[in-house]
Structures are given as C-alpha cells and as structure tokens.
C-alpha cells in the first residue's frame, strides 16, 4: 500500500534486504493469527463464559512479535517517517551523507544499547524460567522476551545494508 520511494539497486544490499523481508513477511502472519485469537476469545467469553487469561496474553504476544520484526522490515522498505521539509530538496549526494552519518552516530549506538542490555534481560528470564504473573497465564516468558535481541540484530543488519547501499552510491557518484 505505501508507495515507497524506490532506492537505487545495489546487489549486496539488495540481497540482505530480501533476506530480511522474507523473515518479516513470514512473521507478519502473526497478525492473521491475532485476528483469529481475538475472535476465539470473544466467542469463548460471550458464548461459553470462559474467557481465558492465556488467550488474552497470547494476543499481545502475537502483536509484540509483529511489531518487533516489523522494525527491520520497515527499514528495508524505507518506510520510517522523516520530516522532509528540507530533506526533499537536498541533492542525492547530501542525502547519502546524511544517511550514513545518521546511521553511524544516532542509530547504531541506540541499537547497541538495546541489544546488549536485552541479552541480560532475556538471560534473567531464562534463568528463573519466568512465567506470566497471572497463575493461569502463559509460561516461557523468555521466549517472547528474546524477540528483543533477535529483532534488534535484524534491525542492525538492515542498517548495515543501508550503509552499504548509500556508501556504494556515494562512491559511484550517482545523481
């Protein structure tokens, strides 16, 4: 649906992006599952008066997986929102330089902070085999928590791909 400004092709970056998109589009089916789980929950509760905390939790599990893996997917489709007030009138070269500096100075440190701290976060959860705080909720909390490091690693990979693309284009001197 979103008409994304097509980025010029760079083979290696294209390959990485395709890989990330294949993962993203597979995970995206979580949203279909989410629709079905919600319907199931409503039917069970209203029809049979047996709403389940586990189903309620499964809903945000599915949503969270979709959101987190979406980050890298949206990066490869160049969909993250920019204030283009001036940006849209920059020359291609300026845009490449901004992109490279932005990724190196702003994005990568942020990703690194989240990634490295999330490792401990997941390890703790794994160590005590964390369960939902609701007695009849879902177990294996470390599994859903581990989407943080995995999805942020993918996001970092997507950023690397973008770096390769912009650097190549900058060297090539494309207009």
């Amino acid at each position: 649906m979103t008409e994304i400004e097509k980025l010029p092709s760079v083979p290696l970056a294209d390959g990485i992006d395709r890989f990330i998109q294949r993962i993203g589009l597979t995970v995206a089916w979580a949203y279909v599952a989410l629709v079905l789980v919600i319907i199931l929950q409503v039917v069970l509760r209203k029809g049979f008066a047996s709403g389940l905390i586990a189903l309620e939790e499964l809903q945000w599990h599915l949503y969270a997986v979709g959101v987190m893996f979406g980050l890298s997917y949206a990066q490869t489709t160049n969909s993250h929102i920019r204030v283009d007030l001036f940006y849209s009138s920059f020359r291609a070269k300026t845009k490449h330089v901004i992109e490279i500096l932005g990724i190196l100075i702003l994005v990568m440190p942020f990703i690194a902070i989240v990634f490295f701290h999330s490792l401990d976060f997941v390890a703790d959860s794994w160590r005590i085999n964390e369960h939902s705080s609701a007695p009849s909720g879902l177990g294996w909390r470390w599994l859903i928590k581990s989407t943080i490091p995995i999805s942020f690693a993918l996001l970092a990979l997507a950023m690397v791909s973008r770096l390769i693309r912009d650097f190549t284009l900058l060297m090539r001197g494309d207009a």
Partner: protein
C-alpha cells in the same frame, strides 16, 4: 559514603491513598531524620520504569532501589505471592508477627537470593483488607458465580476459575469501560477508597466484603545489594527503621479512610454486602485446592507455605482466645 541518594521507582502513584502515599512519607522522613544525608527520589509509576519491571531494574543496578509488592513477581518466583497477600491469610498483626518474629523475613530474603536477584528486601508498608469485588447482582450461592466474567488479580483468580468464573486481568484503566459496557460482569480492584476513584460505584451496586483474597497486603522496598553493602550500619538502620515506622503509618492511614467512603457509597445506592457462610466456605475449599496444586508444583512455595501454616497454627490458640468476636453490620 557520607551521602546517599536512593532513586526509587514505585509501583503505585503517590496520589493513591495507602497504596502510594506511604512511600512519599518514607521519602520525607528519610530526609528529615538523616538531616538531609539520606535522600530518596521517588519516580511515579512508568516515569523511569513501569511497575512490573522494578525488580529487574533494581537487581541489575539500573536504579538502586524500588517500591512495589512481591505479588508482582509471582511469575518469576511463585512463592512471592505469599509475601504480598495470602487468600484466607493472616491479618496485618499476625502477618507482621510472622515476618518480624517468625521466619518470614529470612524466607523473604532467601527467596530473592535463591532466584539470583541481587536485592535486599524489607517490608515498607502494610494495608488493611481489600473489598471482595463489585457485582451487578447479588451472589447468594456458588451457582450465582458460574458463567460470570470477572476481572480478578493474583492467586484469588485461580479460586474464582475453579468456581466457573471466566477471569481476566484487565489493567486498572480498562476496568470501568469494560464493566460499563458489560464485557465483564464483575471486578475486584482494591480498597473502598481506591475503588471509589475508578468510579465503579457508578455502574454496579453490589459491593461485597470481606476481601477473603487479600486480608492484608504488604509492600516492599527493594535495594540493590551492592548499594546496600556500601551503606554504613547507621544508614542501613535508618532505612530499615523508617520502613518499620512506615508499616504503622500505612495501616493507620488505611484504617482511617475507608468508612467515610463506604458511607458515601451507601448513600449513592451501593449495597454493601457480607459474603454468607456458604460462599465463604466455598471460596475456602477452592483455595485449599489451589494451595495443594501450588505446593506440589514449587518446592519453595511449599517451604514458605509450610512455615507460615505452622506459625499460624500456633497463633490460633492466642487469636481464638485473645480477641473479642467481631459484630457484623
């Protein structure tokens, strides 16, 4: 070090009487009694970190202390529920007796230590009973509960499920809307003075007591163990004593503010009801089933439960003889 700043994210806003006001009081007192050398900076829920993340934040040293209730950690340590509120459990006096002069405190600390959390724990407030819930119709017999959808938090939810209640654990903010529209039929939340703030009395009229699921609730102050180790003996005593004083302050505040709210609710057409004996017996027998499952599933839960039960059995002799019977109404 001479000076100490405890950065303390909290689980309940300081505007909430009895749930949140005690820690604000503690912060004030710490500064006063230490002549400004020990300070506590309180962060409202979610400002730094949201309530369920407080334990992780303190243990990993992202903050050096935190104020919460152990019930939040029962997904990490099943026994934690027993240090927060126990269905059909002790009232405040008995609870404190077990914690301070029974094995309560050492088991409490042991729980965090064995689970690998780098925290020092101390009770820092205790409050009186919660209400048992808000219903749109009278509940006279167990069958009246069957098929209801109810918001219920914690160990009590397992009891309700055994009675054929569909339970959900909606966050505080969604309760009013869900109840008003009928997506749930009943809810429990907290004490009358807190429930009143949610406006529950505006939609459902049957408010049941006693809160068998939460006769007393303990709130804890967690301090990162490295921070604790670096504190002087005097500083440690200062914090521990202030927390003990806070127990007195919190229960006094909570006891003082409920009846006025209940009177006003009654004026607004709320029916204040007391569970009949059949219902109480039913809840109790289902709770016994839940306990049997929990003790079988988790050894440490079993250890704490056995210790608490032994203490309570001893206390029974005293309790049955020492206190006047309570008049109902």
């Amino acid at each position: 070090a001479d000076k100490l700043l405890l950065k303390t994210p909290i689980a309940f806003g300081t505007h909430l009487p009895a749930l949140g006001t005690p820690i604000a009081w503690v912060a004030d007192q710490l500064k006063l009694v230490s002549d400004g050398k020990v300070k506590m900076k309180v962060y409202e829920p979610g400002k730094l970190v949201s309530p369920p993340e407080i334990l992780d934040a303190v243990s990993s040293g992202k903050v050096n202390s935190g104020y919460s209730t152990a019930g939040y950690w029962q997904g990490k340590m099943p026994a934690a529920a027993l240090f927060s509120a126990v269905p059909f459990g002790p009232e405040a006096g008995e609870y404190m007796a077990w914690l301070y002069y029974g094995n309560g405190m050492s088991l409490y600390q042991e729980m965090y230590d064995t689970a690998g959390y780098n925290v020092k724990v101390m009770p820092c407030a205790i409050i009186s009973p919660e209400t048992s819930g808000w219903f749109s119709k009278p509940i006279e017999k167990p069958e009246d509960l069957k098929g209801l959808n109810m918001r219920f938090f914690g160990l009590g939810a397992s009891v309700m499920e055994k009675l054929g209640v569909g339970t959900v654990q909606l966050p505080g903010g969604e309760i009013f809307g869900a109840l008003e529209k009928g997506a749930i039929d009943a809810t429990e939340f907290s004490q009358p003075a807190i429930d009143q703030r949610l406006g529950l009395h505006k939609i459902v009229k049957y408010n049941y007591f006693p809160g068998w699921h939460q006769q007393a609730t303990v709130f804890e102050l967690l301090i990162n163990k490295d921070t604790w180790g670096k504190m002087s003996k005097g500083q440690q005593a200062l914090v521990e004593t202030t927390c003990k004083a806070s127990m007195t302050n919190a229960i006094a505040e909570g006891e003082a503010m409920q009846f006025e709210v209940m009177e006003k609710a009654a004026e607004n057409g709320v029916e204040i009801r007391y569970w009949n004996q059949t219902m109480l017996d039913t809840f109790k027998s289902k709770w016994d089933e839940v306990v049997a499952e929990k003790t079988a599933a988790d050894p440490f839960f079993n250890k704490v439960w056995t210790d608490l039960s032994t203490f309570r059995k001893g206390y029974d002799l005293w309790e049955a003889n020492a206190f006047l019977p309570r008049a109902q109404k």
